[in-house]
Each structure stands twice: as C-alpha cells, then as structure tokens.
C-alpha cells in the first residue's frame, strides 16, 4: 500500500529533473529541481550493480532520504518520451538510481548497438526478485503540465508540475485515463449525453478503457450549444500532445465547465476483466468530480512551490 508518491519530470530547461513528493498520510508536499548530467554508457551498468553515485545524484539521494522514510511505500511516476529511451539519458540514470535505492522496481532490456533501453512491465515470475518497491508508472511528456493547467488554470514552475505528476500517481484510474490509447467521447457525444442524461453518450469503450459521464447535483444544463466550441478550442490548444491526449484534456475541460462527473475504468485492472465488472460504477472510478476540490494542504503547497 502506497502512501508516498514521487513525481518526476524533466525540468523546463531540459538539463535536469524536477521531483515532487506527496506524503498523503502526513499531508506534506515537497518539491525540488536538480541539475543532472547525462551518464556514460558503462556507468549505467555499474549503477545497477553498485552503490556509487555521482555528485548530482548524491544531492537527489539526500533530498529523498529526508522526505521519504520507507522506500517500500513509494509509488514513482515519471514522464518519459517513449518506452525506448536512450541508455545514457537523464531518464535512465534516474530510473537506475531509484531502483537501486529501492524506491521502485523496473525491468529493461538493453540494446547496446542502438544505445537504447526498452522499459517494460515486470513478468510476474521475476517481480519479487527485482529491487523492491512498486513498478514505475510512466506518463507521456507534458501531460502533467496539461493536467495542471486544467486543474489550476495556470502553468507554473517545474516543481509545481512535478507535484502534479505525484498527484496523478495517487489515482490509478486517472493514470489509466491519461495513458489510454483509447479515444474519449467526442463533443457531440457529450452534447447528446447532456440533452438526454442517462440515455445517450454516457459510456464509450476504446482501447483498454471505458470512459463514462454522469451528472452531479451541481451539473449545469445551460448553454449546452457551447459545449462543442469549448471542446474544440481546448483540443486545438493541446494538439501538440497528439489527438488522443488533446481530446482528453478537452473532455476534462468541458466536464469542469458544465460540472459533469467523469469516470474511467480500465481492463488493465485485474478486477475489471469481465464486461460485467464495468457496470455498477463506484466512486473509485471517478477521475473528475466537480464537487471535490484539491485538499487545502495540496493547494497551499503548490502556491509555495510556484
């Protein structure tokens, strides 16, 4: 069971990382940025096997050790450009370091010829032989920042974005939503749902996920004809994320504007293996609820980090 969440993003200058830590049980948020050097290929292999670190990683180590008491209760989320990353990249350096220190478990295959390592899910039979901790959650670059802009309306420091990455790690269904290869509801789907709540447009299955809409006591039913335009404007704004992810942010935004609840259920969760499991939606599958705000401890921490 995790009660500490560590979000890692490449900082805005691309020469380091920003770390955000959310300690849920103590309601403490911490964040900091670090300059990280790229690592020579041979050093990557030695990092996996020995406890020797460069100066830049020692600073990271000290920060983490003061903020996290039990490495086994940490869930790491890292933004990475793809499942195939360069062996000598900052990402690989951080992952090897975190695994070696017990903050996460991970598996990767080296392709020395192409200077790439492929990150993968750990097969069950060797999971307990890994370094310990939970498997890393991965996220496409810039999604933490986009989600932050959706939540708070402004784009702030890299440290704030790293805290949002940690926040995403606290909600597995939100992570499924943001990483899904599926296509969410179109603006017409949302409009028809709002015209005929409970009849049309509520549920869309795509990829490994099912996305659902439901009304709440505060849902607005005015100006429905503006839903497609607001959806399109946001989709256009985030088109650099790729169509699928831009539409996710657009859907989140119209849900926020019209106060609609948004659900995500993934067939990647063992308990959702059967079609019948996706009915009887419970609150655990709500990824946006207009009646719930970020905790005051998170909001004030984000303002300080900004």
């Amino acid at each position: 069971m995790c009660d500490t969440f560590l979000g890692i993003i490449q900082d805005s200058n691309h020469n380091g990382v920003s770390l955000g830590i959310m300690d849920v049980s103590h309601q403490i948020v911490s964040s900091r940025s670090f300059l990280i050097d790229r690592v020579h290929l041979d050093n990557v292999f030695s990092m996996c096997n020995k406890d020797t670190y460069s100066e830049d990683l020692n600073e990271v180590r000290e920060f983490l050790e003061t903020k996290i008491s039990d490495t086994k209760t940490v869930q790491v989320l890292m933004e990475i450009p793809s499942a195939n990353i360069e062996i000598d990249s900052i990402h690989m350096k951080m992952l090897c370091f975190l695994a070696r220190k017990g903050y996460c478990a991970l598996q990767f295959d080296f392709d020395k010829q192409h200077n790439k390592s492929r990150l993968g899910l750990i097969p069950k039979e060797i999971k307990f032989a890994a370094f310990g901790g939970h498997e890393v959650m991965y996220l496409q670059p810039h999604l933490s920042k986009a989600y932050m802009q959706f939540l708070l309306g402004s784009c702030a420091s890299s440290e704030c974005v790293a805290v949002i990455a940690a926040l995403i790690a606290t909600d597995r269904n939100l992570h499924y939503f943001l990483t899904s290869n599926g296509r969410v509801q179109s603006s017409q789907d949302v409009l028809e749902f709002m015209r005929y709540p409970g009849e049309l447009g509520a549920w869309v299955g795509s990829g490994n996920e099912v996305f659902g809409l439901s009304t709440s006591p505060v849902t607005r039913f005015d100006n429905l004809e503006m839903i497609p335009l607001e959806y399109a404007v946001v989709a256009k704004k985030y088109e650099f994320l790729g169509t699928n992810d831009a539409l996710k942010i657009a859907l989140l935004t119209v849900c926020k504007l019209w106060r609609i609840r948004l659900h995500c259920i993934s067939f990647m969760e063992k308990k959702n293996e059967q079609i019948s499991d996706i009915f009887g939606v419970d609150d655990g599958q709500v990824i946006y609820d207009p009646q719930k705000n970020l905790g005051a401890w998170i909001t004030s921490a984000l303002q300080r980090a900004d």
Partner: protein, 160 residues
C-alpha cells in the same frame, strides 16, 4: 447611414440584432466596392474570436451539433468532422452564388476593412444568414475565411 437604416427597420423586427443584420446586408449590397461592418455584442464577439482560433478541420466538427438529422447520433471525433465537412460541401454551391456572384466579394476583398479576418467573418456571416439555417452564420463564415475567400471566389490577386 447604417444607423439610420437600423432605426427605420427597428419598428419591424423583434430584436435590434435582426434589424442590424438586414440593414447591413442591404447597405453592403448597395455599397458597391466598400464593406460595412455592423456592431456586435460581446457574446458574438467572443464566439467569433474562438472560431478564428480553430483551423478548418476543427470548425467542421462544430456543424453536426446544429443539424436536426444528427440529433441522437453519437460520433467518433473524425466522424464528427466528416459529417460537418459533408454538410458544408452540400452548401458550397449556394454559398458561392450568394457571396461571389450576388454580393460580388471580389470587388470588396481588397477593401481595408476586409483585411481584418474578424470583420470578414461578420460581413460574410450577415450575407449568408438566409441560407445558414440552424447553423450560426459566423461559423460558416469562419470556415470560408480559413479556406481563403479569394480562392473560394477565384478573385484575381491584388496588384502590388
């Protein structure tokens, strides 16, 4: 001259906006080579600004929600765009006749006023309001502006 026309028409229309549109269309059709732009309210202004943020493809996606034949229809994102594009193409010939032939866009396209896309959307929107039934005229006008009105009407390029 526009405000006098609006005043005299106000008695015959339910809303001032309707009178403004008709006055604007009338004077533009009489005005020859110059374009008259009516005043719009803040809501319409914001709507046009948002239309102009979008590209042609995204603008097509906004059409199906206004069409009665698609009430109760669910779309994929691409399907919604295609349905909008199909509707626009069905209107294209009519739009050409009204804008290019009757309104003589080519004689107005080099007007200083028409160098502003925002003004173009308002003016074209008023001209096509009779055929854009159920669909916001400014939406159709925005698509035309994004496509390029000069190319749409095959106007000669401005001499340098």
């Amino acid at each position: 001259m526009l405000s006098k026309a609006i005043d005299s028409l106000n008695n015959f229309f339910k809303t001032e906006n309707q009178a403004q549109i008709l006055a604007s269309v009338f004077l533009n059709s009489m005005g020859g080579n110059s374009m008259k732009i009516r005043k719009i309210d803040e809501t319409e202004q914001k709507e046009i600004e948002k239309y102009l943020m979008l590209d042609e493809t995204m603008l097509y996606s906004l059409i199906p929600p206004y069409l009665p034949e698609y009430r109760g229809t669910l779309f994929t994102f691409n399907g919604q765009i295609e349905a909008g594009r199909k509707k626009f193409r069905a209107m294209q010939q009519q739009l050409y006749v009204i804008i290019c032939k009757e309104w003589e866009l080519c004689k107005k396209i080099d007007d200083d006023v028409s160098q502003d896309k925002y003004n173009l959307v308002i003016a074209i929107g008023d001209v096509i309001s009779t055929i854009a039934v159920g669909i916001p005229p400014c939406l159709i006008a925005s698509i035309l502006v994004k496509m390029g009105l000069r190319e749409f009407c095959n106007c000669p390029h401005k001499k340098k």
